[in-house]
Symmetry: D4
Subunit: 208 residues, 8 copies
């Protein structure tokens, strides 16, 4: 692995046994860093966790990290409006930590409650990189991007119905954000946002 970053198994569509085998091979090759598996179903996660009792697990994300977690460097702040986006927020958080950043989570802040958002402005400004997650109309990154100049990665989620088209409405909103300097990942891609933000934070930050 050219970058020293952890290797990752994409668990969707794999059996628990396949995932265990891949994780075992990766940890043997690189015992110094975590090997991740993401997008595990609850059943898969139970089986995999039983095979690696010392692993770090996030049930909401359906993710597991086998091997030593890195010492956090720099600060990623994960911002989300509600419980519907919880699994994406968890995946982003878990990934950023496994890729070496410290993470602060700010949830329950939405565009419909501006005061609560303004109250956390200082916390946002302290971060080295923001991950802002939203479904439906995907307005949250524009509002957060208007409050702060910290690098901001927006993650659209598939939360919504009808003309949300499985996250397309939020994706388009984020790509068209009038707040300058908003960049975007694929729908529900908390993993990609976590990798990117951790790389930014590690370059910018100091060990916690």
């Amino acid at each position: 692995q050219r970058t020293g970053d952890p290797e990752v198994v994409y668990g969707a569509g794999k059996t628990a046994e396949q995932t265990i085998g891949l994780l075992r091979a990766l940890t043997e090759a690189h015992p110094d860093r975590p090997a991740l598996a993401t997008r595990l179903s609850a059943e898969s996660l139970a089986t995999v966790r039983a095979a690696f009792p010392e692993a770090t697990v996030d049930d909401v994300a359906g993710a597991i990290a086998v091997g030593p977690m890195p010492t956090p460097v720099g600060l990623v702040c994960v911002v989300a409006a509600g419980t519907s986006d919880a699994s994406v927020a968890a995946e982003a958080t878990f990934t950023a930590q496994a890729f070496g950043a410290g993470v602060r989570k700010i949830v329950d802040v939405g565009v419909a409650g501006l005061h609560r958002l303004m109250d956390v402005k200082d916390q946002l400004d302290e971060a080295d990189c923001l991950i802002v997650i939203a479904g439906m109309e995907g307005a949250l990154p524009s509002v957060v991007g208007g409050l702060t100049g910290v690098p901001l990665v927006a993650v659209p989620t598939s939360v919504g119905y009808g003309a949300s088209f499985g996250g397309v409405a939020a994706l388009l909103a984020m790509l068209n954000s009038c707040a300058p300097g908003v960049v975007v990942t694929n729908i529900d891609n908390g993993f990609g946002a976590g990798v990117f933000a951790a790389r930014v934070a590690r370059r910018a930050g100091k060990p916690a």
Copy 2:
């Protein structure tokens, strides 16, 4: 006209002469109310205006009203972020006035400048109906809808490029607004929003 509302000529794709003829016929049939023409090019508008020197004209909207304007009843508030959406805001304003409502315009408020938006909250609360106009990511209606419980009509505009798809990004965002009670018109349809909001305001309001 079953409702007492003004008749309207859609000027796009008509010659100035056709528009003049249609306006003349409408004002003769209903001398007690205005006859409107919208979406006139600058050249068409000049010719039409010369034919009706006493008409009410809005150059930004490319619209004209021939005949007596109604006494305003109730208050529509038109909200827009910037100069790019000016022609749609002007069309909405002009239409709402011709359909019998008083109109207050609040421009230069965007999601990237929340303080300015919060400063006008009282003005928003006084309205009988809001028209909120936005292009690009179309987030403004969600933010305004989180500040106030006044009925809110959102108008997406075709302002933007790339993945804005001529206003589709803003349209989808507004249809998916997490602020309850946001309703939406077609892209750039300031006219439809003006008609609707005036009807709401006339029912709710008192003569100015």
Copy 3:
């Protein structure tokens, strides 16, 4: 809640227990008004209803309101063509009532039976706000909008197959309605239409 409006739990994707907990918290915070939950499955609704035996329930909508319902002010008229759109019509009706409006339902009127529609014209004219619901080609709002000048909120439904694209055909038809002053909600969004129409009716109407 800044507007005095009820708080609402979106039940889709929540367990009955989560919904019960949220409803309990909301009714404790605001004992003077209803707390709603919508989009509950039949199973969830049974469990939630058992927890709040005095609640108001609509089985067709899959919705429940805990706490005192408001005294209706103004009149919303909900119009739908057939039984396929029944759950959306029920959601709109239930929501408008919980948000403080009186509601009259007119069903079984479709574009294919114009006489029946014309027979109810007087009832349409008495309303303060109309909610017109249609799937497939979504023509009903245009026809109703040609009959009356009452503010009209159109709700496309996902009823249809093939090139209806889950309600997109009806949504586009409504956004392009040639009847002036038609505004539109997201596909199947009876809730949003109900909130909006109740707000309009409360401003326009007198207590029933």
Copy 4:
């Protein structure tokens, strides 16, 4: 030509000279029937008409027929709401006549004026085939199809803006019509509707 039907030159993207050459060849091969050219610009039409001074010409359609027009058999009725759809209605009419049907045109009937539509019900019932043309939300075929059992061909037009997507909204509405037995052509395809309806009318009708 296997069917005895006229041959047709699609004029869009051809020079007047190319069109003249093709028409000349076709009339020489089949002097007993008309050779058509459609979709000619005003300039092209002027040049082509000068080359065939005895031809039948429709300026609104931009179409010309060289050679003897057939004796009309059966009755096609072309229905359209407004002037915006005039060129498509003219193309349908001209084509149906050149393909051997009698044509009656009923314009200025729209979904917003139901009384006017009902007034012409008897004329609709007398036809052997209907061609119903509409842009924007494309609701007219559903309404006409609810009034009569005559075979009905719906033609969506590209009239509209924003979310009409160049006629796609009307096309989808017509494909999803709840009136049974509505069939549809491509956007703006008055030609195809005219060919089809003439074939139906000729089989059904009696010489005028």
Copy 5:
């Protein structure tokens, strides 16, 4: 029923009991003609058929007609390439018969076997109206339309995968057919094609 045509229950999404109730009401109101139900699941069809032992049933279509079938007038020819489109072909056939036309079925003719198609050209020419059904690339109507001048209704089916997009590829192909006079129905809408073709055939044909 203004046209004397049968009434039809759309069975998808209805319980067998609902369908039985509707059929009973319709046959009581119009004992002189069939009442249809379409799109019944195998289970529903079994229950409904048990309630009407004398009904006419098509298992492949999932359709039933209660009451006396009409004497066929005119000839509809239903053309399809393969077994994948069988249920749509059956729905078209069953509907055209219930709406009063005689029907001939020609299956197993595809664009990949031109000789077989040419062998049936005479049978195609004898029809009063053709229904041509195809999924995937939807080329069959263009090829048939090049062989004959009989009015041709094309029905796209949802058969296919990947970039067939549930029948959209076939629908677009048919709308763009270079064979003049091809008209189109919604995806899988054998019912609509059957109604339309029967109406054409009844006008054109003589009792069998």
Copy 6:
């Protein structure tokens, strides 16, 4: 150039001077093979041709080849229905020749005239690779693919209007062809088809 194939300048969006400069550099680097420029406007082509008086030019394609053309090996057959697709057919032909294949052109064969197609079956069978070009409904490759087992590259063109969506209808039809072994290029990409087919023909064929 790793393959010995000619280098190509994509002329769209380049000035004639830029194109001349690039062609001069390429011919100096590889005097043994042609350097191509494609998609030149008529004006550009005139200027470039003047700079290389001995070049091979195709006016319909808007293409030029500077330097010695290769000795043709193998046979590509380019098949197209009509004059509308002429420029794409010319680009495919010119490219295949410059990339070293012999080319036979068969035009004026369409799905509406099957006899003409069957008459050329022997010519199709002699080819090493077919390029079949079609706009509108894009049915020609399916029909040709049913007649012969020669490798077949389908090229959709942007010819059409309305629901052809600039060639998308034809592209989808070709991707869904029921004739096995049809492969597809981008819309209007005669160049890509020519390169591919020449490579196939050169491997399969014998020097002419």
Copy 7:
């Protein structure tokens, strides 16, 4: 069968019994060549295999060939990045073999590991035709096409989530490849790629 190629049963949506019947009929008609069935579920495949114990079977592809496999002529090289695309790669391999080509498989080469790709360049150059399979962003064919001049068929797969839209992202990438001479099949269509590549290889190659 005009080409001597095997006949193929598309097993999706057919019962095992239907498939067995069709295979039996085909092998009786052409005992000299294989009859194929593709897209069989694991259950179907078990039943079909039991009926033809000597058949050639590929479990990953869900495909079976009954009858004598042809002697391979020429070399097809199937290239894929990962295990997610395994079933498509297996279908392409199996089909190319049944259609008479020799096949070499190169898996586990992706755009993220360029060195591994470059290591196999010689193997790529030896092939008569390449099949390059990729999901998600579909970049692999462009990279391989930059390394070699061998004819290259790209197969997009439906592997991915969110804005991959079931393979559309990969399909579009491949259609727009900047490597000249890349042609494309439908999403997941390993079968079509196998047929095409075998035809190319048989013409180019020598018996193994």
Copy 8:
């Protein structure tokens, strides 16, 4: 300006005079930092430049910066394949410099020439943030992302034709990149990428 970043005028759709006025106001308010204008036509740029003779100008980007440019901190590397993407690369470069980063440009590296890309791997690794620009199939970010672990912002461009859909193909490819940690901007949005990358680089880097 909350962040100390420059203010920017979006010049598209503004007159030169409007742009000059806005720039003058911004430079007076913040004489310590540059005021930018982007997306100026060649004519507008000439007029604006004449008004600010000391401004920094980029003709390829159509951009101007009035006032003192910041001392560069950190290193952004802008990577693009060809001349077609030059204006987007120039906009990204100019913006990143005006927002305070040092910039290195690497052009003429494409997926079709892997050796050239590998030759610059060390330069890529030295950057604090990469901006990778590509049109057509948008594969370059995946390839670069496989070579290095530096944070990577991908910018799709509208370069292409047919099924590139104005940059949508490249956008989708980048959103689905299998290289972890690729984030994306709107089509042609060099400005947004420049702002984002400069913010990352300033946090990570040391003064040049």
